[in-house]
């Protein structure tokens, strides 16, 4: 069984470890920040670039490159926004960082701010985490009192304030420009890009960096060990570690931190998580949060090599890295691995997912607003016993009309599940019409 490498989650669930400053400092905390403020900001940026760190929020965009896109010429203040909205279904990692090891995040924030000449950082935490917000505010107060953040930190003339801002229950506030709109006090309608790239026109139309909680924690470790050393962890172009959140029909669901690409799907499901529940067989896995396209157990994938030749890859052998998952037609996303076994009806599972996206669509642009609700209505009708054989094809066609046509990636997020479910389990959708069963009395109403 491949070993976990707990860099970010080193102290999560550690007996005796508490989330206060004293404990963090006892364990070597804030030493990296102390060293960082003695270095040039450009050096720190360079370390992150060399590390190859990719965002852990879902898009996997190279962090070092994101920082270079920031407009530093306009003279406008540069903001850092910590995306602590963690709303991607199946994802539950940032929560534990914030609740159990908040100072790791704060140290990562301060190093990032120093490297990017940021004087004001906002942690946008989803409204459903009131505990996390309280803990973070407490931690910031402690850090400020100890001069690790706030005015003139650690004997320098560098100042940076961190504010916690709570959301109010919308998935779309995890979209970076939706988040910015919400932070500005408006409805979270994502902005059109171009021209509103946050690196140029972000919060209050000023250059803004938006980074995920886990990503910022990695920054601390990168500066600690050096970018080159970090780049040796994981696999080329998919460096470092990442936290996989496994939920669903496995013996041992939970969070596991592995070097990226050093654990395969089969190892993760069968060894790390103990295999399927008694008497059941694995059926399907969504590897990167519900927005990612679903994978069917037993699928064999054909991949192209650099020289043009092809190779096959079996489901169990898929390494859980960004590039391979993208190559086989899905994505690493937020690391939320949702496992379904043969007791799951794919039509009902899709119905559940479609209900979520219909509920969360902000409603700004036509395809997502109308299409997400239409898909939900179709699957709800099917589940409620009124399916037609052509509904699967209709669902896929509606999804095809959404993806690529919207203002933000929510279009893809709500379309990909439908597209992949129907593509890979089309027979179930057709067969649903034949069974035309009435809804079982104890099943839940789709919201």
């Amino acid at each position: 069984m491949p070993p976990q490498r707990r860099i970010i989650f080193k102290h999560i669930d550690e007996p005796g470890y508490s989330n206060d400053l004293a404990c963090y400092v006892r364990n070597g905390g804030y030493e990296v920040l102390k060293r960082s403020v003695q270095r040039k900001p450009e050096e720190l940026m360079d370390e992150v670039k060399k590390s190859g760190l990719r965002g852990r929020g879902g898009a996997g965009f190279p962090c070092g490159i994101k920082w270079t896109l920031v407009d530093r010429k306009s003279g406008k203040p540069i903001y850092l926004i910590v995306n602590a909205d963690e709303s991607e279904p199946g994802t539950f990692k940032d929560r534990y960082i914030m609740e159990q090891d908040p100072h790791q995040l704060i140290e990562g924030i301060m190093i990032t701010c120093f490297a990017n000449n940021v004087k004001q950082a906002y942690i946008y935490i989803r409204g459903e985490f009131p505990q996390g917000a309280r803990i973070l505010e407490q931690a910031i107060a402690e850090a400020r009192a100890a001069n690790f953040c706030g005015p003139n930190i650690l004997g320098t003339n560098y100042s940076c304030e961190i504010y916690v801002h709570r959301g109010a229950g919308a998935y779309i506030c995890g979209e970076e420009t939706g988040l910015i709109e919400s932070l500005e006090g408006k409805r979270p309608y994502p902005r059109i890009k171009p021209p509103y790239f946050p690196a140029v026109l972000g919060l209050y139309q000023c250059p803004t960096i938006v980074n995920n909680v886990e990503t910022l924690c990695h920054v601390k470790h990168i500066v600690d060990m050096g970018g080159d050393a970090y780049a040796k962890i994981g696999t080329p172009n998919n460096t470092g570690t990442r936290i996989l959140c496994v939920s669903g029909h496995v013996q041992r669901p939970g969070y596991y931190e592995f070097e990226v690409g050093k654990v395969t799907m089969g190892q993760l499901l069968n060894e790390v998580c103990g295999g399927p529940l008694p008497g059941r067989k694995f059926k399907a896995v969504i590897p990167g949060g519900s927005s990612a396209k679903i994978l069917k157990c037993g699928e064999v994938f054909t991949l192209k090599n650099k020289d043009g030749s092809t190779r096959t890859l079996a489901f169990e052998d898929i390494p859980m890295d960004f590039d391979t998952l993208a190559a086989i037609g899905t994505m690493g996303g937020s690391g939320g691995v949702i496992v379904m076994d043969d007791s799951v009806s794919m039509v009902e599972a899709l119905g559940n997912i479609n209900a979520f996206y219909a509920h969360e669509s902000c409603g700004q642009c036509t395809p997502c607003r109308e299409g997400s609700l239409w898909m939900k209505k179709i699957t709800a009708r099917m589940v409620n016993g009124d399916a037609r054989p052509e509904d699967g094809a209709l669902l896929k066609n509606v999804a095809d009309q959404i993806a690529g046509r919207t203002i933000c990636a929510f279009g893809e997020a709500c379309a990909w599940p439908t597209q992949s479910f129907v593509l890979k389990f089309g027979d179930e959708f057709k067969a649903y019409a034949e069974t035309k069963k009435a809804k079982p009395a104890d099943s839940m109403e789709l919201v």
């Binding site: 409603g363 642009c365 036509t366 607003r369 239409w374 046509r405 203002i407």
Partner: protein, 569 residues
């Protein structure tokens, strides 16, 4: 004369055709110049760009260059530079002209995008066409016909939303029809500066509403009805009154103030049903105040002057005219013209005043300018009186000089061309002392006390020109014939021409087109104009002779008083 600097022109290629457009032009506008329609809903040339309807999706391509050497990569098939077409379509409204930009609007992908967006817009849209006012001028109907799939695949239940909300005194909202384009929200924020509209709830249940406790009641609320692409926002006054395809459209000008908003009068069989703004980028963009729209109600109203009168009793038109001529020939006449008269009427008034050796005044009408499209000068054509020479100074609010002359007996007869003299301060005693000949459209203090009343036509019933605050000459055309029931009402020009002929023996005809030959000859500002060649957007005149006058107007949408003083120094 300073040559205008050539604006930066960028060449773009749309569907294989090239056009050079100024920097900052978006794809929808560039395509429009080529005669190519890119369908859209949320885009409006005068509002900020939001890109939320997704109807204007087009294919975009940029010339291919070798990333290392930056040399162009050529396409061997066409011999031209290869174009890299983006796999994702892009919205035309937010894509500005850039060097080498290539756009395709006729590909299968674009066709699918349009069919998809149309389908999505229609699935929750109520089947209201038979009862919806927007029919005939509805973007949804147009684009569904032009770009839609043509059949529905939707068998689920449609969303239900509030159907008949009174957003304010003049606007009714049907939320089910709303396609959430946000034009009305943006208009209220950016143009009317009255931020009362917004969306509540989420996703497909999003609903347009007014801020709790507030109403959409500003003087520009009806513009949201104009720009609403569907029948969600409707004019409460016009609701269910008439199908738009039965209505005749006539170009006109809003006479409320010296802004001179360009308008369209919609009428059928002699009755006016509504007034909407006409596009003029130099004057009013695509907007007009609500108060100007309501003016058509004055045409057929109880107080309309229907009959000629002598001393308060009804008389035959010829008799009343003869009595007027008799009074004028007796001498000691003063003339009160009006800032609401057309240039042509003011011209004849001036001629009449000269022939009678009569002093002439106007009455000013100054109110609060709203900084948008209602200026402080509530007369549309004071400048016409200046240009025709009827007055040399700006008018005052009170006719104090005239009152004094009546009291002293110097003036025995006053000819008022459309001006209510009681508003100018004349008293009942003065009305007894002097005889008033009144040309007007509605009963008022003057018509009640006049010796002779000659009923005339409203602006909707005649043609003419006004000169607005910019010194722009603009034309309005006759939309409907003289109001039914106002049988004696005659065009002011005809009455004035007859009076002039009787007094001076001249042969000027009361016809606006024929009159322009004389106007052209006698007034220097008009020497190069013919009425026929007057552009629909008007013509700026030389204002230097009046540059030093203290005009009352402040800034409005397309008028800055400071600019004028700067330009003339």
């Amino acid at each position: 004369m300073i040559q205008n600097a050539q604006p930066d022109l960028i060449t773009v290629n749309i569907d294989g055709r090239e056009i050079a457009v100024p920097k900052g032009t978006n794809v929808i506008e560039a395509a429009r110049r080529l005669g190519i329609e890119v369908p859209h809903y949320c885009y409006h040339p005068k509002l900020t760009i939001v890109g939320n309807c997704r109807m204007c999706l087009v294919e975009m391509g940029l010339p291919a260059v070798d990333p290392a050497t930056k040399t162009p990569i050529m396409d061997s098939a066409t011999g031209k530079q290869k174009i890299n077409w983006m796999p994702r379509p892009t919205i035309g409204c937010a894509t500005n002209a850039s060097p080498g930009l290539h756009i395709r609007t006729t590909t299968p992908l674009v066709k699918e995008c349009r069919e998809g967006v149309m389908e999505f817009l229609l699935i929750n849209h109520p089947l209201d066409c038979p009862i919806c006012d927007q029919a005939g001028e509805c973007s949804l109907q147009e684009h569904a016909t032009g770009y839609g799939r043509g059949y529905s695949r939707f068998i689920e239940d449609k969303n239900v939303k509030p159907k008949r909300t009174q957003l304010g005194p003049r606007v009714t909202l049907d939320d089910e029809r709303c396609i959430l384009c946000s034009r009305c929200v943006r208009f209220s924020q950016e143009i009317a500066k009255d931020d009362v509209l917004g969306f509540i709830d989420r996703g497909s249940y999003s609903t347009l509403t007014c801020y709790p406790g507030k109403k959409l009641e500003n003087n520009y609320s009806l513009n949201t009805v104009d720009i609403c692409p569907v029948g969600a926002l409707t004019s409460t006054d016009f609701r269910f009154k008439m199908r738009v395809w039965f209505l005749k459209q006539t170009d006109s000008i809003d006479p409320e103030s010296s802004v001179g908003c360009n308008t369209v009068i919609w009428s059928r069989e002699g009755a006016i049903y509504r007034i909407t703004p006409r596009s003029n980028d130099e004057v009013n963009d695509t907007w007009m105040p609500d108060s100007g729209r309501a003016l058509y109600k004055q045409v057929r109203v109880a107080g309309r002057l229907a009959e000629s009168k002598i001393d308060g009793g009804s008389a035959l038109p010829e008799a009343a005219l003869a009595k007027a001529i008799q009074l004028l020939k007796a001498g000691s006449v003063a003339v009160v013209g009006s800032g609401r008269s057309s240039v042509e009427e003011q011209f004849l008034t001036k001629k009449l005043a000269d022939a009678l050796h009569a002093p002439a005044w106007l009455v000013s009408r100054v109110g609060q300018g709203d900084g948008i499209l209602l200026s402080a000068d509530r007369n549309p054509n004071v400048r016409g009186a200046l240009v025709t020479g009827l007055i040399k100074e700006l008018p005052a609010a009170r006719l104090t000089e005239l009152a004094a002359k009546i009291d002293s007996g110097e003036i025995k007869t006053v000819l008022s061309v459309g001006e209510d003299l009681t508003g100018g301060g004349l008293t009942a005693a003065q009305f007894k002392k002097a005889s008033v000949i009144y040309l007007g459209t509605h009963t008022n203090g003057t018509s009640a006390a006049s010796a002779v009343v000659l009923p005339t036509l409203t602006i909707f019933e005649k043609s003419g020109t006004f000169i607005n605050q910019q010194f722009r000459l603009q034309k309005f055309s006759k939309a409907v014939p003289g109001a039914a029931g106002a049988t004696d009402a005659t065009d002011d020009l005809v009455v004035l021409a007859k009076l002039l002929a009787a007094v001076s023996g001249g042969t000027l005809i009361g016809d606006v087109d024929a009159l322009w030959a004389t106007l052209k000859a006698e007034i220097p500002q008009f020497s190069a104009i013919t009425l026929a060649s007057l552009p629909a957007t008007g013509l700026l005149l030389d204002r230097t002779p009046w540059a030093s006058l203290p005009f009352a107007e402040g800034e409005t949408l397309h008028y800055k008083p400071a600019q004028l003083t700067a330009a003339t120094t």
